[in-house]
């Protein structure tokens, strides 16, 4: 079966600075894949390359289609939801407005999509009219996830969902991610500094170093790998 997402030798730069030096990876349908690495390794840039937020070269294929030079809005319409650094929510707008925006690319009323959301994020309903900037960090992360799910994407790109969250919340978030993956068949590519939880949840992982894939393989293998244990797992 062809992979849902395939990157081959993708390069990207910010002005004069080359951020990706040829990243290749592939994510199968229904899989959760993780991208690990230190700060500056190019994890965020990889996601940006996929969603078209940064100009890139190389081959990117999604569900058999070349992504070409598609910009972020086109990529969203193709069925990729990118939850960026900073969550990409609109702090000035209400929870409900954020969710409506999540459903922007869908036809029909967002109410049906919202009903599905309720099962994963039951507390959202009562906070509909709250300005999302006044939510707590954990709640905002949940909102970002809910917003992305309203899009009913085929591929979910998550940039460091654990950032700034207490350990209990991190567990919660990843539990929901796993549920979404198992119940809705959502393919997930998650970038994380928290290698521990990422490797628990993902089936396969890639370790980036200085804009290249240094290691890749099933999570179980990587968890046992000497350098991964030392650099990213702390033992």
């Amino acid at each position: 079966m062809a992979p849902m997402l395939e990157l081959e030798n993708v390069t990207a730069r910010y002005g004069p600075v080359q951020a990706l030096h040829g990243v290749s990876l592939s994510v199968a349908e229904g899989e959760i894949a993780a991208v690990l690495g230190a700060n500056g390794a190019g994890k965020t840039t990889t996601l940006r390359a996929i969603s078209g937020t940064v100009r890139r070269h190389g081959r990117l294929q999604f569900a058999g289609r070349e992504l070409g030079g598609a910009g972020p809005d086109a990529v969203a319409r193709l069925g990729i939801a990118h939850v960026p650094e900073g969550r990409g929510t609109f702090a000035e707008l209400t929870v409900w407005e954020n969710l409506r925006l999540g459903a922007y690319t869908r036809r029909g009323s967002p109410k049906d999509d919202f009903a599905r959301i309720q099962t994963y994020f039951p507390w959202l309903a009562e906070r509909r009219n709250q300005q999302s900037g006044t939510l707590s960090g954990g709640e905002q992360q949940m909102l970002a996830l809910a917003r992305a799910f309203m899009q009913r994407p085929r591929l979910l790109l998550l940039d460091e969902p654990s950032l700034g969250l207490a350990p209990l919340l991190v567990t919660e978030i990843f539990r929901i991610i796993k549920e979404l993956n198992e119940n809705e068949g959502l393919t997930v590519l998650v970038v994380e500094q928290n290698a521990h939880i990422a490797l628990q949840v993902a089936q396969n992982a890639y370790v980036l170093e200085v804009g290249r894939v240094a290691l890749s393989g099933p999570s179980a293998e990587l968890q046992e790998h000497e350098s991964v244990r030392r650099s990213y797992l702390g033992y």
Binding site: A12, T53, V54
Partner: protein
């Protein structure tokens, strides 16, 4: 400094008046006037990054100073120029202080407000400032005299600007423009240099205003110094762009000569032709030759242009 081209230009300017009729000498003098004003605005906007759409007001201050001194107190016309420079300089400092609190569009609007309001003052204080008819000085001079004085002032202004900008002050200005944060960390006092830039810039404009009054037969009138003048200076500075000598000269020629050329445009051929042509050229220049003004434009966008394309405002 390219001495050869400057020498060539100087030679051309020296010979020119003898080849031109009085009317055209007047036009050439106007180019000198715009040259000085644009030079001043360039120092402010091009070198310290503070947008001003108010230089018409400083020109008004200079112009009225000259006329008042010469009409009411019978000053020698040339002697009024340093006074006009001094007074405009002080006014520039006075404007520069509150301007420290504003930036970008807000500063543009504030200076725009200044440009609109100052010409209204003579209307209100008409006893002192002559109302809508303005004040008139009886000392008029020949076209040749005006040409010589005008371009001499332009030469002095240019030399002055060059000296200021190559020294410590110029480096400080450039530091302010490129990164205020870095400038402060290097010990450059922002308030002093930003205000100084306003003062110097206004001084140039003031002298230009004095000359403008003389060129228009010694009349200082409110509608001469209206908003359009400020806009023209800004456009001239934008056309000049690169902050080099050639740039300012090009800008001054554009502003100074276009109004007289345009009425001959066959398609339009009326007095409104100049507006259409002028406006069209400004729009086309900004659209088609962005690289030509890249230097000027980049003075406002010190951020490195990255490949991130999602945000049209590229923040």
């Amino acid at each position: 400094m390219k001495l050869v081209p400057i020498a060539v230009v100087a030679a051309v300017l020296a010979v020119l008046p003898f080849l031109l009729s009085g009317y055209h000498q007047g036009l050439a003098t106007r180019v000198a006037i715009y040259f000085i004003a644009i030079l001043g605005l360039n120092i402010l906007t091009g070198y310290t990054g503070q947008i001003s759409i108010g230089h018409g007001a400083f020109m008004a201050i200079g112009g009225y100073t000259t006329v008042l001194l010469s009409a009411n107190h019978h000053w020698n016309l040339i002697a009024t120029l340093p006074v006009s420079l001094g007074i405009s300089f002080v006014c520039g400092l006075l404007v520069g202080v509150p301007a420290l609190r504003l930036s970008g569009v807000y500063l543009a609007l504030a200076t725009f407000a200044f440009a609109v309001s100052v010409p209204q003052l003579p209307l209100k204080f008409s006893k002192f400032l002559g109302g809508s008819n303005g004040i008139h000085t009886a000392q008029t001079k020949s076209h040749l005299w005006l040409y010589i004085v005008g371009w001499s002032c332009a030469a002095i202004a240019f030399a002055g600007a060059w000296l200021i900008l190559r020294g410590r002050i110029g480096r400080a200005f450039r530091a302010v423009r490129d990164s205020e944060l870095a400038a402060v960390s290097s010990g450059v006092s922002l308030p002093i240099y930003k205000t100084l830039a306003f003062g110097i810039s206004a001084a140039f404009a003031g002298v230009a205003g004095s000359l403008l009054v003389l060129v228009t037969n010694g009349f200082a009138q409110p509608n001469e110094f209206g908003v359009l003048l400020s806009l023209q200076i800004l456009i001239g500075a934008a056309v000049a762009g690169l902050g080099s000598l050639w740039g300012v000269l090009v800008g001054a020629v554009f502003i100074g000569l276009l109004p007289s050329v345009a009425p001959d445009v066959p398609l339009i051929g009326s007095s409104h032709g100049q507006d259409v042509v002028f406006g069209l050229i400004v729009v086309l220049i900004m659209l088609l030759l962005p690289n030509g003004f890249a230097g000027f434009l980049r003075r406002f966008e010190p951020r490195v242009k990255t490949a991130i394309k999602a945000d049209p405002k590229s923040s």
